[in-house]
Symmetry: C2
Subunit: 327 residues, 2 copies
């Protein structure tokens, strides 16, 4: 029986490759370093070698497919990495190359945030639901949308850009060129900037102590630690960030009336420091009919969401085939 | 063969009831007045009488179902008008009553904006597409979402509240209680208010002439007429309104990457006065990957979208049944 899937989380530094059960359990995992400077040909060659190695554990015959998540713009239909700023790849026909090495096996590729959304939906916090919004909150704010039990990709595969919801139409300029996007308020860098701004008026905060007065050392983690120790300024930063995130979610919830919003990524680790203001903002500002039953959940797969979700691309693909084509 | 559907557009003043082909052509239409003061029992009785009358034209046996669109909060699963401010109805079990009068026929009920979205998607500007956003722009801004070829209703049936996307998180208070919603900037009343605000600094505009200096008579239609005659102030009003609408759509397009946005309702009749700034704003501010191919279209069914869409509720319902249950 074909009971295992290969899940791959193609990152700029490392590439974890895992043997995953159809239910999302990781059975074995290896990791190779990316070595971006080698260029796509060589990197893909090494990925193929690693897949073969991990496949040998259970035998080629028990593998039902290979799923890959990759940061950047992906053409999931043609299996092409259109542009990945982390890998410095442009128009890399990745699926074609991997397929050639593993004839007959389905190979699926999608954007990392979509893949994580699928993982959380099928094996994590969203299990058993049908309409779920997933947000990954870190350097930027990415996401994925599950509609009627399937990853929703939109007309050209770029749906789910939750970080580029407008919070304020005349707000500060976002990297994307627009003004006042959610990401421009709550991305890692802007959290740190906001703390630095507030700190100008204060001299003795826990943040000062934690960085030995070297303000260039402030990170979201430092601000979290300070807030956990009761620092007022740090708590204010998180209160503001949670409120902004809540406002982005108000628009999404009013529009899509999801069962749940699942939030993952580094910043979600701030826990109630951000989840409390998020929930409060939604309660105060979203339409009752759309928000009354919505669950705001923390992602549960953490750094495994990428490989598990990548494997789930295969499961979703196989489930969508007519029964006669399934093996 | 069952080739006709009854489509009903339940409004606060009139109730048009039509015989519609499965392809969305209106074959015959009658209209009864609502007489809200009679209360739901009597109104529904008269609707049933009118349905019977129109059914007689072709015979009961050629009718495949009855579809109803109604403004307000609807529980589409149970067929209940939860709350309709136009009808002053609360918890009216409408579908149950109509079903009892037409045994064996499917009866479907949904919110008017969802129904219009379905109509435009199946028989109007969105024909042949799969992922479409529909906006109805008038007193308020309502809408409906078509995902993968079906009306998307969300977890509890309230999806599609496109008017309550946030444009500015610290903007003016909206009727819904939130601040800075799209509707609060571009609803009929606010268009008029904006014209009145701008007019304070001007004395001789075409608007003055069109209302004989009685500014209380300004309507969106007056502002449209003035703009068509080249009035600068009126043109500015539409430019601003189109830009706001465009900003709401930037969030929606970045999130959902639809094939098309279809805009109907009274204000859409302002044509290029609003469509030009809408398109320009999207071009300037939305993510390229999500907006490159998006079509911004005017609705084509105008005031027939309600009855045609209501009939299409039946078509969509029948298409979703397993083949053995279709007759």
């Amino acid at each position: 029986m074909k009971s295992y899937i290969i899940g791959i989380d193609l990152g700029g530094t490392n590439i974890p490759i895992a043997l995953v059960t159809s239910g999302g359990m990781i059975v074995r995992q290896i990791s190779i370093s990316t070595n971006v400077s080698q260029g796509p040909e060589k990197v893909i060659e090494r990925i193929i070698k690693a897949i073969k190695e991990i496949m040998n554990t259970v035998g080629h015959k028990s593998i039902s497919g290979i799923g890959i998540g990759c940061a950047g713009q992906i053409d999931h239909k043609r299996g092409v990495v259109l542009f990945s700023p982390n890998l410095f790849w442009k128009n890399v026909h990745m699926v074609k190359k991997i397929k050639a090495a593993f004839k007959g096996l389905p190979v699926l590729l999608d954007n990392d945030a979509n893949v994580a959304a699928l993982g959380e939906y099928m094996c994590g916090a969203g299990k058993g639901m049908k309409n779920v919004i997933f947000m990954t909150w870190g350097t930027g704010v990415g996401g994925g949308i599950i509609i009627n039990g399937r990853l929703y990709l939109g007309a050209t595969g770029s749906a789910g850009e939750v970080g580029h919801i407008i919070i304020s139409h005349d707000g500060p300029k976002c990297n994307c060129g627009n003004l006042g996007c959610l990401e421009r308020y709550v991305g890692n860098k802007y959290i740190v900037n906001r703390a630095k701004e507030l700190i100008k008026k204060e001299k003795n905060t826990t943040i000062h102590k934690l960085v030995n007065n070297d303000l260039s050392k402030i990170t979201p983690l430092i601000i979290k630690k300070a807030a956990m120790k009761g620092d007022k300024l740090a708590k204010q930063v998180w209160e503001e960030m949670g409120t902004y995130m809540g406002m982005g979610l108000v628009s999404i919830i009013n529009l899509l009336n999801p069962e749940a919003v699942i939030i993952g990524g580094g910043i979600a680790k701030a826990g109630n420091l951000v989840f409390s203001p998020i929930k409060e903002t939604i309660k105060k500002r979203a339409l009752k009919a759309a928000s009354r039953n919505v669950k705001i959940l923390r992602a549960t797969l953490s750094d495994k969401a990428g490989i598990i979700g990548a494997a789930m691309l295969v499961t979703q693909h196989l489930n969508s085939l007519p029964k006669s084509r399934k093996k």
